[in-house]
C-alpha cells in the first residue's frame, strides 16, 4: 500500500538538510549555551526518521549504509575513551582540558576535550534511536 506522497518526499529532501545543519549547530552551541550531544543526536535521528517516513527503511538503508549498532559502540568508545584519557597523564578520570587556538576563518576559538565526549554522546544517541526505529519498523 503506497499512497501518493510526492510532496512529502520532495520537501523532505530539503528539510532533511535543514534539520541536519540545525543538529550540528545545536551540537556546537552546547558548548556554552543550551544544546549538546544528546539534543543534537535526537535532532539528527529525527531527520533520518523523516526520511524513513517519506521513503521506507530499505531506501534509507541504501542512502545511509550505516550499522547503527557499531555506531553506538564507536560512540561509547569515543566518550569513555575521552574520559579515560587523562588517566594516562596522572589526572583523575573525566578531567577535561581546553586551550585557545587561532583557527583560520573562525578566529580565536576555545577547543575542549569535552566536545569529543559530546561527539561520542551524539553518536550513541543517533545509534540507539535508529536501532530502535529499525527494530520496530522492520516487520512491516
Amino acid at each position: 500500500m503506497r499512497t501518493n506522497n510526492l510532496i512529502l518526499q520532495f520537501t523532505s529532501k530539503f528539510v532533511f538538510f535543514i534539520i541536519f545543519f540545525f543538529a550540528v549547530h545545536i551540537f556546537f552551541a552546547g558548548h556554552y549555551t543550551p544544546g549538546g550531544g544528546f539534543v543534537g543526536g535526537l535532532l539528527m535521528s529525527s531527520a533520518i526518521v523523516l526520511l524513513v517516513i517519506a521513503y521506507d527503511l530499505k531506501t534509507v538503508q541504501m542512502i545511509l549504509p550505516v550499522n547503527y549498532m557499531y555506531m553506538t559502540a564507536a560512540g561509547l568508545i569515543l566518550a569513555v575513551g575521552t574520559a579515560a584519557f587523562p588517566m594516562f597523564k596522572g589526572k583523575p578520570f573525566f578531567t577535561h582540558f581546553f586551550d585557545y587556538f587561532h583557527l583560520p576563518l573562525i578566529g580565536k576559538t576555545s577547543l575542549h576535550t569535552a566536545a569529543l565526549f559530546d561527539l561520542g554522546v551524539f553518536l550513541v544517541v543517533v545509534g540507539v534511536t535508529m536501532t530502535i526505529i529499525q527494530t520496530i519498523g522492520e516487520d512491516e
Binding site: 596522572g90 583523575p92 573525566f94
Partner: protein, 495 residues
C-alpha cells in the same frame, strides 16, 4: 597511580564496547571475555590488598574538590565485593559457553555481561548517591537485555513485569534523592553523612530513610516487595539466572547496608527496628516459598529471599559483630547462589525438566554431581566448617549482643528450613527411581561441570579459610561501624 581503583571497573566497560563490534565471532568473544574478567579480577584483588594496607582509596572525577565532584570510594566492603563479583563473573561466563546457546552469544550476550558487571562494580564503588542511581540504571539496562535475550514467550511475558517494577523503583529512587537533596543540599555520600549528623536527623530524614528502604528493598527483594522476584528470575536462562541471583539483589542489599550505616544512624531505635522486623518477615516468606514449590529453580530463588533477610538481620544489629557477620554472609551468599544455580542448571540439563517430581536416581549416573551438590547445600545451610557457618555465627552472636534474643533463635531455626528445602532437591533428584532420560552430550556436560566444580571448591575454601579472611572483614566492618573513617578519607582525598 591515583585512578587505580577505577581500573577494575573500566576494563569490562571498554571490553563490552569492543565486543559489540565482534558479536558475530563467538570464539573470539569467549576468549576475550574470559581474559577480561581474569584481568579485572586480578586488578580488583590488587585494589583490595591496597585498601587493606593503605586504608580507604578515593578519587574524585574531573579534578574537582571532594564534596563537589563525583567521588569513587574503595573501602573494605566495596573492594571485597568488587573482587567477588569479578570472580563470579569469570566462572559464570565460562559456564555459559555451553549453556547459553549460540544465538544468544551472537546477539550481544557477552557485551551485556560486561556492562552488567560494570554497573554492579560501579554501584559498589561509588561514593555519590546520584551516581549510585546511574550505576543502578547501567546494571538494570543490561539486565533488561539479558533477561529478554532469546525472546521466548515466557521471557517476554515476565520481563515486562520485571522492567515495570524496576522503572517504578527507579522513579522512587529519583524522588528519594530529590527529597534528600532538598534537606541536606549535597549528593556526596560522605558529605551527606556529615550534614545529617550536624542536624541530628530530624523526622524528615527518618522519613527519607524509610523511602530509601522502599527503593532498595524493591531491588533487594525484602518482605513485602519480593513479589516480582520468583517469576521474573524463573524466566531467565540458567547462566543469567546465576548472575542475577548472585549479584543483582546483593546490590540492593549493599545499598541498604551502606545508607543505613553511613547516613541514617541517629535514630536507630526506629529505622533499624523496621529493618529488623522486615528482615525476619523476609526470612519467613522465603522459607514458606522455598518449601511450597516443586520447581528446582524456584526453590533456589526463594533461598535468595531468605539470604537477603539474613544479611539485613545482621545489618540491623548495628554492632561490629553483626555487621562483620553480615559481610561474611553477603560474600558467602554471592558465591553459593552462583554455585547452586549452576548445579541446578546441570541437574535440569541431564533430566530435561525443572520439576522435582519427574526427577530421580541421578546418584547412580552422576555421583560426582550429587556429592558436589550436597557440599553446596550444606554450605548454604551453614554447616561448619563450610562457608555459610561463620557468617551466620557472627550474625547470631551480634543479635544476642544487641539483645534480640528471640529473633536470633528464629534465625537459627530458619537454617533448618533452608537445609530442608535444598536437601529436598537432593532427595528427589538424586535418590529414588530413575526418572525420564534425555540425551546428554558428555563433553558439553563436562564443560559445564568443570567451572561449577571449581566454584564449589572455592566456596569450601571460603569457609575453611575464613580465619585468613578475618583481617579483611574486620577492616571492612570497622568502617561500617564508624562512618567517620569513610568521611575523613573522602574529604582528605579532595585536598
Amino acid at each position: 597511580m591515583i585512578n587505580f581503583l577505577l581500573i577494575p571497573i573500566l576494563i569490562p566497560f571498554f571490553m563490552g564496547m569492543v565486543l559489540m563490534f565482534l558479536h558475530k565471532k563467538v570464539r573470539l568473544q569467549r576468549i576475550l571475555s574470559l581474559l577480561t574478567l581474569f584481568c579485572a579480577a586480578f586488578m580488583a584483588l590488587l585494589v583490595m590488598v591496597k585498601v587493606k594496607n593503605e586504608g580507604v582509596q578515593t578519587i574524585t572525577f574531573g579534578n574537582w574538590p571532594a564534596p563537589y565532584g563525583i567521588t569513587m570510594v574503595a573501602d573494605g566492603m566495596s573492594s571485597l565485593l568488587v573482587f567477588t563479583t569479578f570472580v563470579l563473573g569469570f566462572f559464570i561466563a565460562w559456564y555459559s559457553f555451553e549453556s547459553i546457546g549460540r544465538e544468544r552469544e551472537q546477539f550481544f550476550y557477552y557485551p551485556g555481561l560486561m556492562f552488567i558487571l560494570t554497573g554492579v562494580t560501579g554501584a559498589f564503588t561509588t561514593g555519590d548517591i546520584f551516581n549510585l542511581f546511574v550505576f543502578f540504571e547501567v546494571l538494570l539496562m543490561s539486565s533488561y537485555l539479558l533477561i529478554v535475550l532469546g525472546g521466548e514467550k515466557g521471557q517476554l511475558r515476565e520481563s515486562i513485569k520485571y522492567i515495570l517494577v524496576n522503572v517504578i523503583s527507579s522513579a522512587l529512587f529519583v524522588i528519594a534523592v530529590a527529597y534528600l537533596y532538598s534537606v541536606v543540599g549535597t549528593l556526596s555520600m560522605a558529605d551527606i553523612s556529615v550534614k545529617i549528623a550536624e542536624i541530628n536527623q530530624p523526622g524528615i530524614i527518618t522519613t527519607i530513610a524509610v523511602l530509601f528502604l522502599l527503593v532498595f528493598g524493591l531491588k533487594a527483594a525484602i518482605f513485602p516487595l519480593y513479589f516480582w522476584l520468583p517469576s521474573s528470575y524463573g524466566a531467565a536462562p540458567i547462566p543469567v539466572l546465576a548472575l542475577f541471583g548472585a549479584l543483582l539483589t546483593k546490590v540492593g542489599v549493599y545499598a541498604i547496608m551502606r545508607t543505613y550505616t553511613l547516613f541514617f544512624v541517629h535514630d536507630v531505635s526506629y529505622t533499624h527496628e523496621i529493618l529488623l522486623i522486615l528482615a525476619v518477615l523476609t526470612i519467613l516468606a522465603g522459607c514458606i516459598g522455598a518449601l511450597a514449590t516443586f520447581n528446582v529453580k524456584q526453590i533456589i530463588i526463594y533461598n535468595i529471599v531468605i539470604a537477603v533477610g539474613v544479611i539485613l538481620f545482621g545489618t540491623a544489629q548495628m554492632n561490629e559483630t553483626g555487621l562483620e557477620g553480615a559481610l561474611f554472609y553477603l560474600v558467602h551468599d554471592m558465591i553459593i547462589k552462583a554455585v547452586l544455580f549452576m548445579l541446578v542448571g546441570l541437574v535440569i540439563y541431564v533430566t530435561g525438566t525443572s520439576n522435582l517430581r519427574k526427577m530421580g536416581g541421578l546418584m547412580k549416573t552422576y555421583p560426582v554431581l550429587g556429592w558436589f551438590y550436597l557440599i553446596a547445600a550444606f554450605g548454604l545451610a551453614g554447616i561448619p566448617p563450610l562457608s555459610g557457618f561463620i557468617g551466620k555465627l557472627l550474625i547470631v552472636q551480634g543479635g544476642f549482643e544487641a539483645g534480640n534474643i528471640w529473633s536470633s533463635i528464629f534465625l537459627l531455626a530458619s537454617s533448618l528450613i533452608v537445609l530442608l528445602s535444598v536437601i529436598r532437591i537432593f532427595i528427589y533428584a538424586f535418590w529414588g527411581e530413575e526418572g525420564e532420560r534425555v540425551t546428554v552430550e558428555k563433553h558439553r556436560y563436562n564443560r559445564m561441570f568443570f567451572p561449577t566444580a571449581i566454584l564449589v571448591i572455592i566456596s569450601v575454601a571460603y569457609g575453611v579459610g575464613s580465619e585468613w579472611l578475618v583481617p579483611f572483614m574486620d577492616n571492612a566492618a570497622k568502617i561500617l561501624v564508624d562512618p567517620s573513617i569513610y568521611v575523613d578519607a573522602v574529604m582528605k582525598g579532595g585536598e
